[in-house]
Every structure is written in structure tokens, then in C-alpha cells.
């Protein structure tokens, strides 16, 4: 085998992809949050609905929040029909996104294994596989030998504390290069004349009665026909200034990477029970995540004992990781809902739309969110795929309880 340089297939770092404009006094639509969801929403508003007099305002730098902090996993193997619809729509869009944006996203459909460590988990996994298939989503249940075949470095022996009894397998799942996803959308938006305004924090809203007509920012007031929130963990902070209470709690979610290694890990492996998820980035880092830290926080960091637990689980499942060095750890702020499903739709305020509560799993939904949220904003009513995710489900009780398929402890 010819030795290959890790990262040799990465494209050059771009030096210019979008303008850095000052905000104009007014736009048809202002999107709050310049991460993946905000950018994708703006993109489909422009492409599908012809709206280009638009700004995406970002308090820091473009895609520097959770978009820069996630573990880049993409999959659609959710249990409930509502979630399956939304995430599978996103996955289908992912499959054409590189061509559409004409930009390399390093979208790699290397598959995902969701491990089962108990008889109950095996049964739940088989049930989820069946549900996935009924929704046209590729899924199968594998026994430990088949799991080992797909991921040879995984320890499937039966003498560990939580042996691998099997796994669900979604071959079309994978990873993408998160920064390039943001940059691809940003470049397309810039070319369509959309303003991407950085270092511009929204501090309040302009309203006339129950209608939102603009935002107050650290770079002046901006009037807007419509305002859409896509601010992830900080949505409560924004909504509080309107007296709008949302059923979300902001928590730290930590991730870490190893030093660069030769390719050792061919797929994505996730485990709910021992709680770790791992893939290997194109450049060679092992990318590991776990669940949220228990307490509310906006500090973009978490506690070390969470990392310690996650590493213990990882080393038991992947004994060779014991010799890898951690290069870097970091935290994002994720907003979690009581039913582990997102909130996307209208608000009690006319002209204000909310997209939040994605918890630990927003990245995979990026293009699907953009598509559906753009429809919601353009037509003042939810797209059929995001209608079940409206705010009123917390009153009607029609919750979408995805704690299992969300694959995370929250």
C-alpha cells in the first residue's frame, strides 16, 4: 500500500469567499444566527422563494458557534415518522449538495453503527430498523460478527463490561466537513447578493403591537419585514427580551479530537449505553463526542469528569485508542427540549419565526432545516415536514419523544 499523507485530499484553504458588508437599514428578511441553520435557511429562501433582500446577522464570526464545534455526523435513522421525514429529507439534500453548491463538502457516506449493549437495546434497535425501513430509510440490524467486519478495530468480545450485542447500520449515513458546508452556503449566498453581517449581536427587537418589525443590534437598528431566529443555544436569551418563554434548556456539549492518525476507523460508531460516538476526520483526527453536561450553562466549556467517562467508554470499545493522544477539547452550547426534538415554526409574534431546540443533533439536519424553515418564513405557515415540530406540541401533548434515536443523553 502506498503511504498517503493525511489531509492530502483536502482542498486549499480559501482566502476569499464572501464580502463583509455593513448592515443596511432594512431588509425583507433578517436571519439571526450565521451558523449552518441560518445560512441554509437564507440559501433556500433565496433559491426556492426568490428572496434576496436579506441579511444573516451573526454576533461572532460566520459559523463560529456550534457549526464549528460539532462532530459532523449525518444520519437519518430516527424512530418516529415525524423525525424520519425531516432527517431523511435533509440526508437526500446532503447527497446532492456538493454539486448544487459547486463546492467540496467532503461529504462521505461511510455509514453509521449504533451499538446495542443489552437485550432491551437489541429489541429497541430492531424496532427502529423496522420503523426506518417503513419510512424508506436504509437500515439493517447486524450481529457482532457483522459489526466487526465493518469496523475491525471495535472490540466485540463478550468479556467487557457492556459487550456489543449487535448494532443498527445505516450505510448512507456519514460525515461532512462542517466548515466547508458553511463556506459553501456562504459563497452561494454572497453571489446571490445576500448580506452576511458578522460581529453584529442582536440585543433586542423592534415591535409594533404583536408584530416584529426589526432587530436592535450592536451595529445599529435594522428594520425587517420578517425576523427568523436560528441562534441555537442562545435562543432563550433572545426570546427573553420579548417575554417569550420557550421549553428549552441550554447545556454544554463537549467534544474532542486526537492527534492525526493514519486511517484506522472506517465508519461512524455511536453508543447510547456507554455513551460515546466516534468517527475519523478526513485529515486523520479521531473525533469523539458524548452527552451533555447535566447543568445549564452558556460558558462553552464543560467538566472534565464528563470527558473522563467518555474516554473510558471509548477505550473499552476501541482498545487501540489507549495509545492515542487527545489534541484538543471544547464545548458548545446546545438547547435541549423535554422530548429531544427540535422546535421549528411560527411564534405568538407576527413576523417572528423560531428554529431551536436541536440539542446535540442539529448539524445533520442543516439542509433540511434550511429548506423547511425557508418555506415556513416565506409562506407564514410550516412546511408539512416541520409542522409537527411546532411550539404548540407542548400544550397539546403531541410530543415527538426521540430520546432513543437522538442517540445522546439529554
Amino acid at each position: 500500500m502506498t503511504p498517503r499523507t493525511p489531509g492530502a485530499d483536502l482542498p486549499d484553504h480559501p482566502d476569499w469567499l464572501w464580502r463583509n458588508p455593513d448592515p443596511k437599514p432594512s431588509y425583507d428578511v433578517v436571519i439571526v444566527g450565521g451558523g449552518g441553520h441560518g445560512l441554509a435557511t437564507a440559501y433556500y429562501l433565496a433559491k426556492n422563494h426568490g428572496i434576496t433582500n436579506m441579511a444573516v446577522v451573526e454576533r461572532g464570526w460566520l459559523a463560529g458557534g456550534n457549526m464549528a464545534r460539532n462532530t459532523t455526523i449525518i444520519r437519518s435513522n430516527y424512530l418516529w415518522d415525524e423525525s424520519a421525514g425531516l432527517y431523511e429529507h435533509a440526508l437526500k439534500l446532503w447527497e446532492g449538495l456538493e454539486d448544487e453548491l459547486d463546492y467540496p463538502l467532503l461529504f462521505s457516506q461511510r455509514g453509521v453503527l449504533n451499538l446495542a449493549h443489552s437485550l432491551q437495546e437489541v429489541r429497541d434497535s430492531v424496532r427502529r430498523v423496522n420503523a426506518n425501513r417503513l419510512n424508506g430509510i436504509d437500515a439493517e440490524f447486524l450481529d457482532p460478527a457483522q459489526v466487526k467486519e465493518i469496523c475491525p478495530i471495535l472490540n466485540v468480545s463478550d468479556d467487557i463490561r457492556y459487550p456489543v450485542l449487535g448494532a443498527t447500520w445505516q450505510p448512507r449515513a456519514g460525515i461532512a466537513k462542517h466548515d466547508y458546508v458553511a463556506w459553501g452556503f456562504a459563497r452561494a449566498l454572497d453571489r446571490m447578493g445576500v448580506d452576511l453581517v458578522q460581529n453584529c449581536e442582536v440585543t433586542g427587537f423592534e415591535r409594533v403591537g404583536d408584530r416584529i418589525v426589526g432587530v436592535e443590534t450592536t451595529r445599529g437598528d435594522i428594520r425587517a419585514g420578517k425576523v427568523a431566529l436560528a441562534a441555537a443555544g442562545h435562543t432563550s436569551v433572545l426570546a427573553d427580551s420579548l417575554g417569550l418563554r420557550l421549553p428549552i434548556q441550554s447545556h454544554p456539549l463537549q467534544a474532542l479530537v486526537s492527534e492525526l492518525l493514519e486511517p484506522v476507523h472506517p465508519t461512524v460508531v455511536m453508543s447510547n449505553a456507554v455513551h460515546v460516538y466516534v468517527s475519523q476526520a478526513h485529515k486523520g483526527e479521531l473525533v469523539l463526542g458524548a452527552g451533555i453536561d447535566a447543568y445549564n450553562s452558556y460558558s462553552q466549556r464543560g467538566a472534565f469528569h464528563t470527558i473522563e467517562r467518555q474516554m473510558a467508554a471509548a477505550v473499552e470499545l476501541f482498545p487501540m485508542f489507549a495509545r492515542a493522544h487527545v489534541l484538543r477539547t471544547w464545548g458548545g452550547v446546545v438547547d435541549v427540549t423535554p422530548d429531544a426534538s427540535a422546535i421549528m415554526g411560527l411564534t405568538p409574534f407576527e413576523g417572528l419565526y423560531v428554529n431551536c431546540g436541536w440539542g446535540t443533533g442539529g448539524f445533520k439536519a442543516t439542509p433540511g432545516v434550511g429548506w423547511c424553515f425557508a418555506h415556513t418564513i416565506a409562506h407564514d405557515e410550516p412546511h408539512p415536514l416541520n409542522a409537527p415540530f411546532s411550539l404548540d406540541r407542548f400544550t397539546t401533548g403531541a410530543l415527538i419523544d426521540e430520546h432513543g434515536a437522538a442517540g445522546v443523553a439529554h
Binding site: H234, S236, V237, D240, R245, L246, P247, I248, Q249, S250, A294, Y295, N296, S297, Y298, S299, A303, F304, H305, D335, T337, P338, F394, T395, T396, G397
Partner: protein, 91 residues
């Protein structure tokens, strides 16, 4: 890792505790008259401030008692609530 002031045991590592969320969330006094909207609010809605938050912890690996603290959710600065040991939550 945070050092959390247990009113009975003193400051201990965070890993000895479990988190209980917002402090002083009261069960509705007259459940029979509570509307769907109010039930939803009670069950699913909690404060989520960026700043000082009154919250509950239980010293699970110590005295196993619940208490309240006030913590800044941005800086993790933490201090006992003035009535840390007396305020209770009906569940």
C-alpha cells in the same frame, strides 16, 4: 469541574452531585382547575437565564440531601441560596 457548596458537607467536587434544574418549581395548588396550557407550562417550561440561576442539586455521593444554590450560568460562579436548606419542592 465545579466545587459545589453542600450546606451539610461543605464544598465538594461536582461529580458527587446530581443536578435538579430550576429551584422552587411548585406543583399546581388546584390541579383540577389547571388548563392544558398551564399544565404544559408546569411540565415543560423552565427558566433558562444567561446569568444568575436559582437551581437544585442533590449530594448523591454524600449526605444525599437536596439544596439550592445560585449559580451564574456564564461564569459558573456559585453561592448558596440564602435559604438553601429550607426551601422545598413538592413533587
Amino acid at each position: 469541574m465545579m466545587l459545589i457548596p453542600c450546606p451539610w458537607c461543605g464544598p465538594r467536587d461536582e461529580s458527587e452531585f446530581h443536578y435538579g434544574g430550576q429551584a422552587d418549581v411548585r406543583y399546581p395548588e388546584n390541579p383540577g382547575t389547571v388548563s392544558d396550557e398551564e399544565w404544559g407550562r408546569f411540565l415543560f417550561y423552565r427558566d433558562n437565564p444567561k446569568g444568575v440561576f436559582a437551581e437544585r442539586w442533590v449530594h448523591a455521593a454524600g449526605c444525599r440531601r437536596w439544596f439550592n444554590v445560585e449559580r451564574d450560568t456564564l461564569t459558573n460562579e456559585i453561592r448558596p441560596a440564602h435559604d438553601a436548606t429550607t426551601r422545598t419542592v413538592t413533587r
